[in-house]
């Protein structure tokens, strides 16, 4: 039973196209039900995120199915941004997606939740069947396997995430930690957002202009502090994020040394994302001070991403192995189907023969005949069925099993019909 994938991602489609064909969780169920009712679509699921819209369908009539799926992208003119994959290529693509190989940021974790959500929506819309019910959980398993057996998702992949990761390596739990914002640049606010998500609660804002400090403090629920009280603020907080527009160092070693004495050895993380820099580089030499500037953080991110890149081959190996496993599963399903056809064909003959004697025999005789014929059928079919199962397990393609049935004049009946 072929699996068909049709869709686009950030590599093939511009943002104008992506925003046009991105569907919300509320829209997806009705969309799936509409497509499920279309010609040739037996099972269907849709992954729709800001970076991709992909529809996975299972069909017995690929031509008709493709036509039905195209209606999803109606009005797109020449859809050269669409890719179309069949069978194992489609399966492989889904496994790559769930592993994070196809994501904008290699190995990111969010996609795993998005694949899970797509499957839940399809289940809720009752548009899944035996193949997708197996395929999606399998893809989620492959995604988890890739992340646990390789380092594809290790290390922060953005400057803001690197800042949070760094803070966690020093303070462990960020809950209740205090952050001082020196200046009010855009990057400060991005890092602050992540730090707040990680549990940072108390925020102090220091700026040359108190009014601007108060403005940012009001926006992030912090407290504005006059610039003159910078030293006092430094002795209280755990993390300093500096991004002023000052053309000189605002925090230097001479200023930091007495502050660190007051801190009694508590570590202080300084993140300097200003250009030109706000913090004198030699502050790094002060005990218990950890200074990172924008280049350091970008360096960490670049190093992490290059490490992730080196893991791609390992993840591809996992994807390939799992693809083969899934293919074997599909084959075993086909073999089971061939066995079912064999059994049904013989059962049809048995019922026809029984019909001939219905009426001429008593009820008791009829029951004995039914039992006898059933037993005979079971005995006759036992060996061929076992042999087919063994052959399928040994890797004989299901097409050969179907061919054998065709020679016996069994398989042709069903397919022709």
């Amino acid at each position: 039973m072929p699996v068909i994938l049709m869709g686009f991602n950030q590599k093939t489609a511009s943002v104008e196209v992506r925003e046009r064909f991105t569907y919300s969780d509320e829209q997806v169920p009705s969309l799936l039900q509409r497509l499920h009712g279309s010609q040739g679509v037996d099972e269907i699921a849709l992954i729709s995120t800001c970076n991709r819209t992909e529809v996975y369908a299972v069909t017995q009539e690929p031509g008709l199915c493709r036509g039905s799926l195209m209606t999803l992208f109606e009005g797109s003119g020449h859809p050269d941004f669409l890719y179309l994959e069949n069978d194992l290529q489609a399966v492989k693509h889904l496994f790559e997606v769930s592993s994070g190989l196809d994501s904008l940021v290699l190995g990111e974790n969010q996609i795993l939740g998005q694949v899970r959500q797509a499957f839940s929506l399809a289940q809720a819309a009752k548009t899944t069947g035996p193949v997708l019910e197996k395929l999606f959980p399998w893809a989620l398993r492959v995604g988890k396997l890739a992340r646990s057996q390789t380092r594809i998702c290790q290390g922060a992949a953005s400057v803001a995430a690197a800042a949070v990761e760094l803070a966690q390596m020093i303070f462990d739990d960020l809950k209740g930690r205090r952050v001082l914002l020196l200046g009010a640049g855009k990057m400060t606010q991005a890092s602050l957002g992540l730090l707040q998500n990680a549990g940072v609660q108390q925020i102090k804002v220091v700026n040359r202009t108190l009014a601007r400090a108060e403005e940012l403090a009001a926006r992030c629920g912090g407290e504005a502090t006059p610039f003159e009280e910078l030293d006092k603020a430094l002795s209280d907080v755990d993390v300093l994020i500096a991004s002023t527009g000052a053309p000189h160092f605002v925090v230097d070693k001479a200023r930091l040394a007495p502050v660190m004495y007051q801190r009694k050895g508590r570590p202080l993380l300084l993140i300097d994302i200003a250009v030109p820099r706000d913090i004198e580089p030699s502050c790094q030499d002060v005990d218990n001070v950890y200074l990172y500037n924008i280049d350091d953080l970008q360096g960490v991110v670049a190093e992490n991403l290059s490490r992730r890149q080196k893991e791609v081959q390992k993840v591809l190996q996992i994807v390939d192995t799992e693809c083969q496993e899934f293919s074997r599963y599909l084959d075993s399903r086909k073999a089971n189907q061939a066995i079912r056809i064999l059994r049904e064909s013989f059962e049809e003959v048995r019922q026809a023969e029984l019909m001939k004697h219905r009426g001429s025999l008593t009820h008791e005789e009829m029951t004995r005949l039914e039992n006898f014929s059933n037993g005979l059928l079971n005995k006759l079919l036992h060996n061929p069925m076992m042999q087919m199962k063994k052959m399928s397990a040994a890797g004989v393609p299901p097409e050969e099993l179907e061919r054998a049935l065709e020679i016996l004049g069994i398989f042709g009946k069903e397919t022709d019909g």
């Binding site: 290390g155 390596m169 020093i170 303070f171 462990d172 050895g265 508590r266 350091d296 960490v300 490490r307």
Partner: protein, 259 residues
């Protein structure tokens, strides 16, 4: 029988140490289940070995240096398994397992070859056991400090990809302190029990003087940490210095001590 079991546990500790470092440095993963399984199995063997030794000797195996080393290794892993893991410093096992391996290997090779000493009653048993337990806690605190310096260096050098394998600086600092809170009272109990032994008096015995000095250094640490609220690099340096005193006092000869 006791020695054979001890030798087996030593082998187990070596295997767990190798498995730990393979996982950490080669695979760069924090999945330590397999390593922990080997460590705990070795510890079970170690417990059995000490039980057999106790039954053979008819008293606690703490009258000679090899016996004390075997017990020290056992307490070290027990404290690590119970407290270290509870306080989320699994990485400490990377030093605790090889340390236990060295101690048990030493004990295996020297057990039975040492000059025999007498077991001098319950006060003696309590004196040595408490001191050994306190030394094990001090060992783990020192290992925390060691990891603190490694982690601090990695963070200063901006090697985050290896820093993430270790616990955070604050955790290491806090757990080191907690081990001192466990070890210091045991040290005091051990010293007090020693003074209760018949005929004891203060004679500036080198071993006893060094133990008192060790206690004083830990007291300074506790004062700075609890009363003055200091932490961080300097506190961890004091911890390492105090541990140096522990090692010296353990190995120093004593006039009234067999080892």
């Amino acid at each position: 029988m006791g020695s054979a079991l001890l030798a087996l546990s030593a082998l187990g500790y070596w295997a767990s140490a190798i498995s730990f470092h393979y996982n950490l440095f080669h695979r760069k993963q924090r999945d330590w289940t397999q390593w922990l399984r080997i460590l705990l199995s070795s510890h079970a063997l170690h417990s059995l070995a000490l039980l057999v030794l106790t039954l053979q000797l008819q008293h606690l195996p703490v009258v000679s240096m090899p016996e004390v080393m075997a017990v020290l290794g056992w307490v070290l892993i027990a404290l690590y398994a119970i407290l270290g893991r509870r306080w989320k410093v699994d990485a400490l096992g990377g030093i605790a397992a090889p340390a236990a391996a060295v101690l048990t290997t030493f004990a295996t090779f020297t057990l039975g070859h040492e000059t025999p000493h007498n077991y001098r009653g319950a006060w003696f048993g309590l004196h040595v056991s408490s001191l050994v337990a306190s030394y094990a806690a001090f060992c783990l605190a020192a290992f925390c400090s060691l990891l603190y310096f490694i982690q601090s260096r990695r963070l200063k050098e901006k090697k985050l990809h290896t820093a993430f394998l270790l616990p955070s600086l604050n955790t290491l600092d806090r757990v080191g302190f907690r081990f001192i809170l466990v070890g210091f009272p045991l040290l005091v109990v051990g010293m007090v029990c020693g003074t209760q032994m018949p005929g004891w008096r203060w004679t500036w015995d080198p071993k006893e003087t060094l133990v008192a000095l060790t206690g004083a250094v830990y007291l300074v640490y506790l004062h700075a940490r609890v009363v003055a609220g200091w932490q961080g690099r300097r506190m961890n340096m004091i911890l390492l210095l105090a541990f140096l005193c522990v090692l010296v006092s353990l190995l120093a000869p004593g006039r009234s001590h067999g080892y």
